[in-house]
Symmetry: D2
Subunit: 364 residues, 4 copies
């Protein structure tokens, strides 16, 4: 394989699988002198882990963090930080009948085809549990971002056809954690919860849209022409399981606009260059403008639904049917907000070092 | 900077700027024994170059290819292929008044902020002309893809709010080059042309959507978790100037679907595993399924419009206004199809080698 | 930092420190379907670990391997292999007085200068124990090399001024493990052992030369101009702690030769192209010839000697003296053979995949 | 291939071949605001080019530099710098008879084996002329090093068995360019010149040793464990054609020393930490100490000698003989000093940015 590392200066190597011994990450390139505690990472893992509400998978995983290397007296010392989470509540029995019958909408078939040997238990390395590595990397990146007062938030703006109302950034921030769907609009949140529970009962799942906003990013991040900031953000987000689209700023709506509608005019505010509108989403020419960076991603409905579905038998090469058991989220959007936040934090941390905003070796 | 290379095994280093001496690319990692002629590249550059119709910029550039290295007796010999296009029809006069007044919607401001020194003439390295390097790389990649009968096509599906009708792949292929907008639906194409001309006259520009379809890709391309095929495709496409969104398969519509609607059930067709629907867009778990890969990108309206716009003066740090002269495309979508095609061809060529489908050193 | 990964297709990320919780490696890019057991790695770690004879450090570490990811039913499945060794017998007391007094010949001073925060206990990440990651990577690489019948051996050819006699490859192979110094010449070995023990008693250490021979490498490995096979081998070997020189084939003696003496004439043997002499050491133009690859590296005497040495106090910035306690090898050469072998195995495995000799995704 | 790029932040992509249209490099990651003129590069190319004395090849190449991109008003602007040298005095006739008869000591055989298609004219891409790309990259790196007052010099210390006397750095600097062999010791230089001329007449060639010294490097460059400074230096130097060994500081002599002889004790000089001896060669634990970095490389005799040599016919697969015509250097050492200097300058420039000593985007 060999596609398990991301980042150039600040980089994350992700490892592990759903029903293997452990999952985790090696975070390399983090400057020395950054305070990191177990809790800094645990707090983020807790937001990602399943079993915390009636709309998530019932798999019970404490996802307890174990830091194996990279810290000295509670601070980074410039060496690679390895952190591991052991799998505990594995129930592989539900997967035996999937061994040769790939689940529609899942990577079972493609993994099996590519490597011949495929750990089908819990989706193996294709499982959403591999995002534990993202969250570990993101939690460390967040500590770096904190030193520059950069804030990242991620919230659900749509589930099925229920859309949240538009809100100001600080309003969103205050409201995200008030409900289990992580939607800042309380009315929409209530309807989304109801929809998810209803679909769960009818053995269905549903998709949605997750928006991530990064505030206080300095102007100047991003390396044209192949490592533009939007390009690198799209790269990591499109790689999260279930994501089918990524857009920046006004995104796909740009297709319908005229130039005079799209362009964000500049003005001076207290000696700082700003734009009144932010259709660009904080990035021009691939480089951050200083305005908030706004990204949305489309999340497909969880493919694991316990209805009878059409599939094939890879041994006999004949058509067959399948009914998926196991424990699954009827809607992955709420939990994926944590992964989106972690992912863009990794990219921003990397670019802060690449652009000289954070010293590559040590913090003051 | 240092963000000018893409690809791991088959890789492209892009260089040059709009009003500098030349633009081009070094293509490294192409196996030996591939026949390449000047014409193979010229034919693609001709589709990208301006001045070819009344809806493109009137800048007259022949964009004549010069191959400086990497071929021996008309074939690749495994060494880096360098190809260069010299700039000819440069008119930098129109840019003098932009020196300190960044154009809204352009990278002028962010480039200047990042590097202090900025070649503002024609947008410098932020210009769309840098995609000449993409097209060179893509033309060579295309020759590799031909050896496996993989086909890439790129067409305009929407301009403003005019949408093309859905069509079969072979229909699209036959119709793309029949009009100047590169839209396969002749009725929509006619209306798109009219719209673009109308907006050009009213000193406006307009956005659109470009779809790229890759057929005959074998199952097994893509490296989870950070170099999934969709992830790497989104990476390069989001990096093309003016692109604000990328989606795979059903894309953003996935947000509204239920699992049973989204999942593409498998079936056997002549001993090959297929899906009847292709909501996934040919990629599952980040790995190609063998079904056509379908990607759409949102293209914003060209930011250069000759209306008076609000901007700032970077020297005096005061608000001011600007009127952009120069030669610009009222809609970049038709020309960007060639860039999209080239870009995904580079990614597919790279992954064919990474996945062992094409020998890394030599073709038979 | 961010210099903890080596290899392009087959790559190793190394982590951990001498007195931290654990050391280990993530091995990515190993094709699926390779059988690997704990024992395959343990057997190599046992050759590297201290405390096994009277000429090595007395630190008692079992260095027991723990594979955390990457295997399914005893075989690789194409996902990253993470393996960890927990530190057990740490005695950090001997290092307290070194906190501000860098040891001559060690990296204490440079690490402290670069990162400010430095885990001085046992040399921290500068310790020889970090080569556990090399050995883990090398053990997995060895299994890949076995599939092509490629053999790597590493032996001591000189300690101080005692030189081993020249021997044939198969003779060397048979004799390496018959003594604690890993010198194939039994007479020299006896004298080397005596020398090391004598120097140990007189609070001294001694350097030496280690030779590594790789047999059965196919012609065609190596990527000019910056990833030549000798270049990549020198890269990894020069990075092993205490190595001060690397030479290929006849090495530094080439300086004294005339062209007619140096050149290895070609001849045909059973339809295979060979050379009677092998001054080139199996590599021409940076690409393997098919002849055995021969590399020697100069190993300096262990810097930790329990004599009084001149150093400085980093706090007071005044001259001072230091006496190093702790447990150290009087000569690192015997143990470093295992690290050299592992290191070149990683490079060869990587180049076998890069050159198309081993499929990047799966073994048959 | 795909091994034509070196460097992480400051990087060089090398292209071209001996008898192709052109050779050159793309230098990416150079910060903006660095003044560079054609002459800065030309002056270094002139030291490398052949035909300048009676001990070099008689091929007459002006090697005139053409900068195609990356500069604006005489300064870098953060975009990739492409520079090209066109081949002029190509005489491919002498190579026709080598088409199927690989020259002993050359890469002809291995290149042909690896890629099937091989541009045998002048050694193709295996030619020493590819180091034009190194020299271009090195000339730009030198300008960066100048901003920190870092100096690099490279001189010949041995030809055959004639060895130069040991001299102080400033003495060496003053004397290097006083003779055609680039040996700072005038007596040795005279004998070396005589030896080379004598061997040239007798259709022979000879090897030697080239030493490179880097002064004023700040402490703190180098990234353990796989990108140590000595490791990265060895990597690039071992990749220069004809180099068979690289050593740092005391190098291979370390094998014979005891710890008390090898270790460089620290002391304080004007509040700066120094060592009185410099056996380490300016690098400890892979990180620069601030003392001069001293590297020697062993250069083999030029393999092209006009004597009859044993080779094989690749078509008939039978033994045969060969007599090489063409124009060759009887000793490559004098010209290779320029390449060594350029190569280490690239590595130091890269590490200065990686370690935060030079801003990655722009100079003040």
């Amino acid at each position: 394989m060999s596609g398990n590392k991301i980042g150039k200066m600040f980089n994350v190597t992700n490892f592990g699988s759903s029903h293997g011994k452990a999952l985790g990450a090696v975070v390399d390139g983090c400057p020395a002198n950054l305070e990191i505690s177990d809790n800094d990472i645990q707090i983020e893992l807790d937001k990602r882990r399943p079993g915390t509400s009636n709309i998530t998978s019932s798999r019970q995983e404490k996802d307890k963090i174990n830091i194996l290397s990279g810290l000295f007296n509670g601070k980074t010392d410039g060496t690679p930080i390895t952190a591991v989470v052991y799998n505990r509540d594995m129930d592989s029995s539900a997967y035996e009948n999937l061994k040769n019958n790939p689940r529609p909408g899942h990577g079972d078939y493609t993994w099996k085809t590519k490597y011949d040997i495929y750990d089908y238990r819990g989706g193996g390395r294709g499982s959403g549990r591999t995002t534990i590595g993202h969250v570990i990397g993101g939690a460390i990146a967040k500590k770096l971002l904190n030193t520059m007062n950069i804030k990242v938030l991620s919230h659900v703006t749509q589930i099925g056809n229920i859309k949240a109302a538009k809100m100001e950034i600080n309003e969103i921030e205050e409201n995200i954690d008030l409900n289990t769907v992580r939607c800042a609009d309380p009315c929409a949140a209530q309807r989304m919860e109801a929809l998810i529970l209803h679909l769960k009962e009818s053995r269905e799942s549903v998709g949605g849209i997750v928006e991530t906003i990064i505030s206080n990013v300095p102007a100047g991040l991003g390396e044209p022409v192949f490592n533009k900031l939007d390009s690198d953000i799209a790269h990591i987000l499109m790689g999260i399981g279930s994501v089918k689209g990524v857009e920046i700023g006004i995104g796909f709506k740009a297709a319908e606009l005229k130039g005079s509608q799209m362009n964000d005019g500049f003005y001076i505010d207290n000696n700082i260059i700003k734009t009144r509108t932010n259709n660009a989403g904080g990035i021009l020419g691939g480089i951050s403008t200083g305005m908030p960076i706004i990204i949305r991603m489309a999340v497909k409905p969880t493919p694991s639904i316990s209805q009878i579905q059409k599939t094939v038998d890879l041994k006999t090469m004949k058509d067959t049917k399948i009914k998926i058991e196991g424990r699954h989220d009827p809607c992955i959007c709420p939990r994926i907000t944590t992964v989106a936040k972690a992912s863009v934090s990794i990219i921003i941390a990397d670019h802060l070092i690449r652009a000289g905003y954070i010293h590559p070796c040590k913090l003051k």
